[in-house]
């Protein structure tokens, strides 16, 4: 047998059917899961990722530091603030600066708005995978409130590109606090309805209970992150482990579930929504006055720039920020995004472009779950597991 045919063919046991879920399948997203099924039971699953790979890390090496922000945003566009915050924080570490407190609070507010939007998005997809079209629409409809709030703050619905190294691009608009509080009140009411319609709906319950169980040990072994690992009983949240932005000053809980099944992961997300609301409420109330950009750069502002900052509360991009040349060295930053921990590792060789940017995204770490969790389940459990992991292919593929 020639070398090539050995590569191309693979023996499959008798009575085993190979089913390709994706990439053009209504329930797969931009990825493929190759299933081998024996009757209705999955015996082997292989996540096949990379369909939306965009060579982001390489692209980042050819652009000035701040220009990479809109690029990295496109990993998880529904969670744009969280997934670029890590990059900006890594640059700040290289530069050895800290943003002023007000900027930190604004970052926290946007990060939590994004977390809510991202969880709602994930759960909406989850609901439609389970066939629950109403919850799909409700989650997406209510997400609109938070997207709208983020738009008022940043000027864009999704692609916020909201941070400068050492600060943020805009101050809170006038009346933002009221609007946010209204949105929170509305959403608290809706959470009760979610409970009836989705979380305690007997049909949904029976689909989730005991499905896709990841033991504490397995979760640690596989190195999964985010709500998924917390639902398996492991205490891991970057907001607590390595506090950043204004989180250490705020009072909130990070829920931990021990069960580790799809239901625990779902409840985990809903509880995190509640906590996010708490964080938002505190953050808008406690936000201190002050500058929103590091003074080192404020000093370099020309008159026009200062005028704009005062009248429109908009931080213009000082040429010094654009021509950033961080000192030689390396730095990393971790951020807890909606789907889990983002890890950025940047290397500077003193030029105005990064020498290397390494991103480890949460979905990438979670993608391995499919290989170990799916076997033994029914084909019909695939959507329940896929949805409860809240896997987002563009984030994994980068």
């Amino acid at each position: 047998m020639s070398q090539q045919s050995q590569i191309l063919t693979r023996r499959i046991d008798k009575d085993i059917l190979e089913v390709f879920i994706g990439p053009q399948h209504p329930g797969s997203g931009h990825m493929r899961i190759i299933l081998r099924v024996d009757g209705d039971i999955i015996v082997e699953a292989e996540p096949d990722i990379g369909f939306v790979h965009r060579t982001m890390e390489k692209l980042a090496e050819g652009r000035e530091w701040v220009k990479n922000q809109p690029l990295f945003e496109r990993m998880a566009i529904l969670d744009a603030a969280n997934c670029t915050l890590g990059y900006i924080m890594a640059i700040e570490k290289l530069l050895g600066i800290e943003p002023p407190p007000r900027a930190k609070y604004i970052r926290t507010i946007l990060a939590e708005l994004n977390r809510i939007a991202s969880h709602l998005y994930g759960m909406g997809i989850f609901a439609i995978l389970l066939g629950h079209s109403t919850m799909y629409m409700w989650f997406f409809g209510d997400r609109e409130v938070f997207v709208e709030l983020a738009e008022r703050l940043t000027g864009q619905r999704l692609t916020h590109s909201f941070f400068w190294p050492g600060g943020v691009r805009r101050d809170l608009p006038s009346g933002f606090k009221d609007e946010l509080e209204k949105g929170i009140k509305y959403f608290e009411k809706r959470l009760k309805e979610y409970e009836v319609m989705f979380l305690k709906n007997p049909v949904i319950r029976s689909r989730l209970e005991g499905v896709g169980y990841i033991s504490r040990q397995k979760a640690a072994e596989l190195g999964i992150v985010g709500p998924n690992i917390r639902a398996s009983g492991i205490r891991h949240d970057v907001r607590i482990e390595e506090p950043y932005a204004a989180y250490p000053e705020l009072d909130f809980e990070v829920p931990i579930y021990k069960e580790g099944d799809a239901l625990a992961r779902t409840l985990q997300r809903v509880d995190e929504l509640r906590e996010s609301l708490k964080i938002l409420k505190q953050a808008v109330n406690r936000i201190p006055e002050g500058p929103i950009l590091h003074e080192k750069y404020l000093k370099m502002f020309t008159k026009v720039l200062k005028d704009v900052l005062e009248t429109e509360k908009r931080v213009k991009l000082a040429p010094a920020l654009f021509n950033l040349r961080p000192p030689k060295g390396e730095a990393y930053a971790r951020v807890e995004a909606g789907r889990g921990e983002y890890f950025y590792y940047v290397v500077s060789d003193g030029q105005n472009k990064p020498y290397r940017v390494r991103v480890v995204s949460p979905s990438f770490r979670n993608s391995i779950v499919f290989k170990y969790v799916l076997p033994g389940h029914r084909v019909a459990d695939l959507p329940a597991i896929y949805g409860s992991i809240d896997y987002f292919p563009p984030e994994a593929d980068r």
């Binding site: 701040v66 220009k67 990479n68 809109p70 690029l71 109403t134 609109e144 409130v145 709208e148 738009e151 008022r152 000027g155 864009q156 692609t159 590109s161 691009r169 805009r170 608009p173 609007e179 209204k182 949105g183 009140k185 509305y186 809706r190 309805e193 009836v196 319609m197 305690k200 709906n201 007997p202 319950r205 009983g233 205490r235 949240d237 907001r239 607590i240 506090p243 989180y247 250490p248 000053e249 705020l250 809980e253 990070v254 829920p255 931990i256 579930y257 021990k258 099944d261 239901l263 409840l267 509880d271 026009v304 720039l305 429109e312 908009r314 931080v315 213009k316 991009l317 040429p319 654009f322």
Partner: protein, 174 residues
Amino acid sequence: MAETSAGPRYSERNVEERMGLLDKAKMHAKALSLGMLRLARPQRITLRYPLERPVLSEGYRGMIVLNNDKCIGCSLCARVCPAAAMKMFNAAPKKLRPVINYERCIFCGYCVDICPVEALYHVPVHDLVFENRDDMVFDLETFTKEPEEPEHVRKVRVVIDEEKGLRYVPVNSE
């Protein structure tokens, strides 16, 4: 609000027990009646988009317009553009001016933010129709004019509401 801030912490929680038959029947009834309630009193947030258009929030990063008189031709905007949407060209000898290609622009607003003389600004329009791709490359003339929205659309203001989430209040234009 309690002033004693406890800081972030973990809290262990438990999934409830499996439901018994009676609980199931109760939750079925609850879910069905919530559905019925919503059927009787719908709570819509659909914006009938091409017919109604939202008034974009203040500071929305919409389309970009050049104020030709202010521009000093420094090329910073073209240099900062992460999508290479903005390019400089010689409008007259020794007079560089930027033009924009909306096929590439990602509305990041970097160009507006870097312009040292505020020659670029956003207008609250984000949706224009182009008949072909060439039209999306603006020349100096189109780039210095503010794009206009079609006349016959109803403008609505988006209001965040405690009861309905989002409410659309018509802007009285007529």
